[in-house]
């Protein structure tokens, strides 16, 4: 936000305060923000919220598939582990992975988009065709192909999720750059002899920041779902690290007898994604009305 | 003359974020059988909304008709069921809109859009209605009517599109044609052609015409009687000759003075100072008072009623109190 204040001639302060007041009036948006915030609090405070260990096996077979009861409000799984504890700890994985992956994809996408938009010509054409091509491959297939190549780990999942999600941001930023570089203050900066890179960093990126942030927030939900799908397929976060997608998968064998094992992690995913989507929609409506439906 | 249309105290409002905008605020007038009446005023005065209200086509929400009556052949169009109203639209009352490009559906051929109206109201089959539609194309002098029948709107010029609109409007021999700025969006050279065509078809088919325009020059050639509208009300009513000879409302005077005159020195045209008032924020008293060069105390204290002057004229100005 400090970058925004000296972005030059675009009255960012007014924009932001007007945006926030619009955001606060939107009940859905505020609900989304509250959900997202609560999730982060839960993730941080997980050890305080449950006495159980999310990874160590329980006293088998005595504690296997216990239905929800006092002591285990959401029941236990196949290995006698407390489902609530695993759901709480699982939020750490989901939130960390999605946040970092979005950060990677946004940074990479912004750089590519800004380069294409600013350089123009052949650079633009080549970069954008690559973007088109990558976007033609469904993300999950792209992820799976990459996963088949490397050995699985959490950092790899983060990098892959980030590396397969930058294309839309690149397109968005390129469009913004093309629009903004025609504006007078950029031309003035260029006429004053400011270097190209300097112009890009000092003016273009800060000006597209709102758009990027809004788009990034809207993308987090999708990334959480993608990570969950990978883990569900057994190709994501390696066990026994508690991840929601894998927990849903883990309950598949005993769906009829122990429905709680799959149900609650699934609800956790849904609530998180809904929270981010509401939050993102609210941000978009408040700060970037043009993009709205 | 028999009265065909009698609009009485029509009120149409729009709900906006800042309050209720009374865009048409008590409009009353009559149109006789076969008569041509001009409804004149600056943009935003409520003349188009008056037309849409007669047809019950005001977009709801945000707009709604809040009161008054529209008697058409003695029947109040504002109270009949929607089913009945649909039989009136395009059949007994037709309308030609200002923008011939956006008013035609881009994904259907021009012919189909005319044919559809004929088939609907005259209960004709596809072949018969098509034959009549081609006939209508010929009537409005679209060259090559059979070919043009199959053209899409984007393949035609503005003038041709407006001819299609006119063909559509006249296809069921309506008793009343409302022409809402029919030539405004067209090139100057085409404008005259369209107006001539309307005049000619009016003579031929004998319908009444309510011509809505901001252009007094157009009115002078076309109509028998003029209604001048300002800020949602009719401020003056007069036969066309009388209006030009001796306007009875300061607003009409201003409009006439802003017309370029033949033979007059090519000096600056006088303009009425200021703007049409915001319907959410009308001046107290007379609506024209903030722009009127002849304002006096009375104008600020109360809104003038329509004062009858002579047999066929009326003016909404305190200066005419007592018919002077």
């Amino acid at each position: 936000m400090t970058a925004l204040t000296d972005s030059g001639g675009n009255e960012p302060r007014g924009l932001w305060s007007a945006g926030w007041s619009r955001f606060r009036k939107n009940r859905f948006a505020v609900a989304g923000a509250v959900i997202v915030l609560s999730l982060y609090i839960v993730a941080i405070l997980a050890p305080l919220l449950t006495p159980h260990d999310p990874i160590a096996h329980g006293d088998l077979p005595k504690t296997r598939y216990l239905s929800p009861r006092t002591g285990h409000p959401l029941g236990t799984d196949k290995f006698g582990r407390d489902v609530l504890a695993r759901v709480l700890y699982g939020s750490r994985i989901s939130l960390t992975i999605s946040f970092l992956a979005v950060a990677i994809s946004v940074i990479a996408g912004s750089l590519v988009g800004a380069t294409a938009g600013y350089a123009g010509g052949i650079v633009d054409t080549v970069l954008m065709r690559i973007v088109d091509a990558l976007m033609a491959i469904p993300r999950l297939f792209l992820l799976l192909t990459c996963i088949a190549l490397f050995s699985r780990s959490v950092p790899l999942i983060i990098i892959l999720l980030g590396a397969t999600g930058w294309m839309a941001t690149a397109r968005l930023v390129r469009g913004q750059v093309l629009a903004i570089r025609e504006q007078d203050f950029i031309k003035a900066a260029e006429a004053l002899g400011a270097g190209r890179r300097r112009i890009m960093l000092r003016h273009l990126l800060p000006n597209t920041l709102t758009v990027i942030i809004v788009a990034a927030t809207l993308r987090i939900g999708g990334i959480i779902l993608a990570e969950a799908s990978l883990s569900f397929l057994g190709l994501g976060v390696p066990s026994p690290i508690p991840s929601w997608g894998q927990m849903v998968f883990g309950g598949r064998d005993a769906l009829l007898d122990a429905w709680w094992v799959s149900t609650f992690p699934g609800i956790a995913i849904a609530v998180t994604v809904i929270g981010y989507n509401l939050f993102g929609d609210g941000l978009r409506d408040a700060f970037d009305p043009k993009q709205g439906a | 003359m028999d009265v065909l249309l009698k609009v009485d105290n029509l009120k149409t409002v729009f709900d906006t974020e800042d309050g209720v905008a009374r865009v048409v605020d008590g409009v009353s007038f009559e149109v006789g059988h076969g008569e041509t009446v001009g409804l004149v005023g600056e943009s935003g005065c409520g003349k188009s909304v008056t037309a849409l209200s007669i047809m019950r086509l005001v977009q709801d929400p945000p707009g709604r008709i809040a009161g008054g009556s529209v008697l058409f052949n003695g029947r109040d169009l504002l109270t009949i069921p929607e089913r009945e109203m649909r039989k009136v639209r395009g059949n007994e009352i037709s309308i030609v809109f200002q923008e011939p490009l956006t008013s035609l559906n881009p994904v259907f051929t021009c012919g189909e859009q005319v044919r559809e109206a004929i088939a609907l109201h005259q209960k004709l089959g596809r072949r018969e209605s098509k034959r009549k539609a081609v006939e209508m194309f010929r009537l409005v002098r679209i060259p090559d009517p059979e070919l043009r029948y199959r053209s899409y709107p984007h393949q035609m010029s503005g003038g041709m599109r407006q001819r299609v609109m006119i063909a559509m409007a006249l296809s069921c021999q309506p008793k009343l044609l409302i022409a809402d700025e029919p030539s405004t969006a067209l090139d100057v050279s085409v404008q005259a052609q369209i107006m001539d065509l309307l005049l000619e078809l009016k003579e031929k088919l004998g319908m009444a015409v309510l011509l809505i325009t901001h252009n007094l020059a157009v009115v002078a050639q076309m109509v028998e009687r003029v209604l001048v509208m300002y800020a949602g009300v009719v401020v003056e009513e007069a036969p066309v000759g009388g209006l030009f000879a001796e306007p009875l409302h300061p607003y009409t005077e201003g409009l006439l003075e802003s017309l370029p005159k033949l033979g007059a020195p090519a000096g600056r045209l006088s303009m009425i100072p200021g703007n049409v008032p915001d319907p959410l924020n009308l001046p107290p008293g007379c609506r024209f008072s903030d722009r009127c060069p002849r304002r006096f105390d009375r104008c600020l204290s109360g809104e003038p009623p329509m004062f009858t002057v002579g047999r066929r004229r009326a003016s909404r100005c305190w200066l005419r109190e007592g018919g002077g």
């Binding site: 690559i130 999950l140 297939f141 190549l149 057994g234 | 008013s103 559906n105 881009p106 393949q155």
Partner: protein, 327 residues
């Protein structure tokens, strides 16, 4: 029209070419010997040496690249390590199944999405509109695999109404055409619904927005001024115009559906490309993975091409604006 098609075709071919290249680089970008990924307990070292020779991995990179493009362009994707069969024949078996599932989902979501979207737009701000807005958000946020499990739990395990896996019942072949058709229909309902429901939600939102935009157009007022009944105004005059932007969305939804089919096929044991891929990854069957990656991309590009053609058919303006000036 012909020129527009030709241009889009050339663009599509270019994209396919780039994708083959990306695949090539993915293989070579991976650390170490590309063939290291082929090491598998079931595969004799001689086979690998044979492959190295066959793939020309001892040749210069540029030559490998040209060869790679040539073989992909001919549909020669190599031999599956897992099944020891040509990848192409594996694909020939699984592609129709995936297409059937995707087509089912596509039909389902277009019908549901369009119907809901139009109703929402026509009855804007009504209770129906509000409920469907909120419902769309929820549906869009639910993980598909979880929804699938919940539906299986409810409809298959608890109620026993619908089968939970495979494309048809075992031994149904002898039961006559109609019985077989019903059986297959029953098998496709759940997977197609789960696969399409999120897209239906998105579709409903787009359709609603598009329809609302169109309903504000002048030509809708003209249609009303003609005396047309609402039904005709909405379904004839508004619908076709509102459909235009949505056709593009249908094209764009293909990657989403094909990606989703991976998870759905796995859950419902549907013998399609998605399941083939997941199994191939677990078995490190690399030629299969790359081939599927390529085929899916081609399908998506083809889908977009079809969407463009559909758009051109629906909108008479497009042909003229593309082929130079109007008239």
């Amino acid at each position: 029209m012909a020129r527009f098609l030709a241009r889009r075709l050339v663009q599509s071919l270019l994209l396919v070419f780039i994708i083959i290249t990306i695949n090539f680089f993915l293989l070579h970008l991976a650390p170490g010997d590309p063939l290291a990924r082929y090491y598998h307990p079931d595969i004799a070292p001689e086979t690998i040496e044979l492959m190295r020779e066959k793939l020309g991995l001892d040749r210069p990179l540029i030559e490998q690249y040209v060869k790679w493009i040539w073989s992909f362009a001919r549909g020669d994707f190599g031999i599956s390590l897992q099944y020891n069969r040509p990848v192409a024949s594996l694909l020939a078996e699984s592609i129709p199944n995936t297409l059937r599932l995707t087509a089912g989902a596509l039909m389902l979501y277009i019908i549901i999405g369009v119907a809901l979207g139009i109703t929402s737009a026509v009855k804007r701000y009504s209770l129906f509109d509000r409920v469907s807005t909120v419902a769309a958000l929820f549906v869009y946020s639910i993980p598909s695999f979880w929804l699938a499990l919940m539906l299986i739990l409810f409809f298959s395990l608890k109620l026993g109404l619908l089968p939970s896996s495979h494309m048809q019942s075992i031994g149904i072949e002898g039961a006559g055409h109609f019985a077989m058709f019903v059986d297959r229909l029953r098998h496709i309902v759940l997977p197609a619904f789960v696969l399409g429901v999120a897209s239906a939600a998105a579709m409903a939102r787009y359709m609603r927005g598009s329809m609302i935009d169109v309903l504000g157009e002048d030509y809708i007022r003209t249609a009303r001024a003609k005396g047309l009944p609402d039904r005709k105004v909405f379904l004839k005059h508004a619908f076709r115009n509102a459909l235009l932007p949505v056709v593009t969305i249908i094209g764009l939804s293909l990657p989403f559906l094909l990606g989703g089919s991976v998870v759905i096929e796995k859950i419902f044991s549907w013998p399609g490309m998605g399941r083939l891929t997941v199994d191939a990854i677990h078995a490190r069957d690399y030629p299969v993975v790359l081939a599927v990656n390529f085929i899916v991309a081609v399908m998506v590009i083809l889908g977009n091409l079809l969407a463009d053609i559909g758009y051109a058919c629906l909108d008479p303006r497009i042909v003229y604006t593309r082929v130079g000036e109007s008239k």
